[in-house]
């Protein structure tokens, strides 16, 4: 299958994230539109979310304790893959970053081999820092399902977000239809 012509253009991505940001403002969701400096594909969305987890991530023992974890989700354009990418970093109350192993455990991937090509640490396309990234290989295949969507980024994000704990409010559905 020729997936090249199905990739998403930067202009489409930019239009979609601007619409999403405008809608986020209207419903008091917390998405921020950021502009990377001196970067051709520098605009990206980000949102911080604090989640409470009852299982201990910091130790290997199954001992249970409550911990608050802050997730910083980014929606960025990846020019190499020609598609949007969802990545995040997460840290505990004491500021320590979650490792990739802890993230696999958190999102029930730890026991599967496919974890290595689902969630991996990659370079953020704009910030050039390591981020835990939902691997973009199959994204263009997924995106082509949304031929009818008026906002492909929202359609795609509503699909993949819950895989890494990011639920998209149904309010955004109207942007796609």
């Amino acid at each position: 299958m020729d997936s090249m012509h199905l990739s998403m253009s930067w202009d489409t991505f930019l239009k979609d994230i601007k619409e999403m940001k405008a809608h986020s403002d209207s419903i008091d969701d917390d998405w921020l539109l950021n502009q990377g400096r001196n970067h051709e594909y520098g605009a990206y969305l980000s949102k911080k979310l604090v989640n409470c987890f009852s299982t201990s991530l910091s130790t290997d023992t199954p001992e249970k304790s409550d911990s608050l974890i802050t997730f910083d989700y980014h929606v960025v354009y990846n020019p190499s893959y020609g598609c949007p990418v969802l990545c995040f970093n997460a840290w505990e109350m004491n500021g320590s970053l979650l490792t990739i192993e802890q993230c696999w455990k958190q999102f029930n991937l730890a026991n599967f081999d496919y974890k290595y090509h689902t969630l991996t640490q990659m370079e953020h396309p704009v910030l050039m820092k390591p981020f835990i990234t939902l691997h973009p290989c199959k994204t263009t295949e997924l995106v082509q399902l949304f031929a009818n969507s008026k906002n492909v980024v929202v359609s795609w994000l509503s699909t993949v977000g819950p895989v890494v704990g990011l639920n998209i409010s149904s309010h955004y559905a109207k942007l796609t239809n």
Partner: protein, 127 residues
């Protein structure tokens, strides 16, 4: 003496027990009928999209209080998918509501002709 006095007493007890039993039974019945009202079913239509296999039966009645994630698990089981394959459900073919959304809410927002139409697609994990 005491026996004859006790007899009517026990009769009274029995009859009061009996009526209480009746009351509780009728309460149970009421409760059951209430539960039946709560257990409202919603008609959903499952349509494949992308390369998803078809389901022999497309129309299902689902408990209104079930979360969408429950239907996802059901479709995975029905299609006998491998653990590395994922199923996503869409409203309007374009938006995947979060798995904790209750079927009734989705029906209220997106029903067409008294049915909730959900498109399902299957993908490999991201690899």
């Amino acid at each position: 003496m005491s026996g004859t006095e006790n007899e009517p007493e026990s009769d009274v007890n029995e009859s009061s027990n009996f009526s209480l039993h009746n009351v509780s039974q009728s309460l149970d019945n009421d409760f059951d009928s209430l539960k039946k009202i709560d257990k409202q079913k919603i008609d959903i239509l499952l349509k494949p999209t992308g390369n998803a296999p078809i389901m022999k039966r497309r129309k299902w009645a689902v408990d209104a209080e079930k979360p969408l994630g429950w239907i996802v698990e059901f479709v995975k089981k029905y299609l006998k998918l491998e653990p590395h394959e994922r199923v996503f459900l869409y409203v309007n073919q374009t938006f995947a509501p979060s798995p904790d959304q209750i079927v009734k809410n989705l029906y209220d927002c997106y029903n067409t002709d008294g049915k909730l139409i959900l498109h399902y697609c299957k993908t490999q994990a991201w690899g």
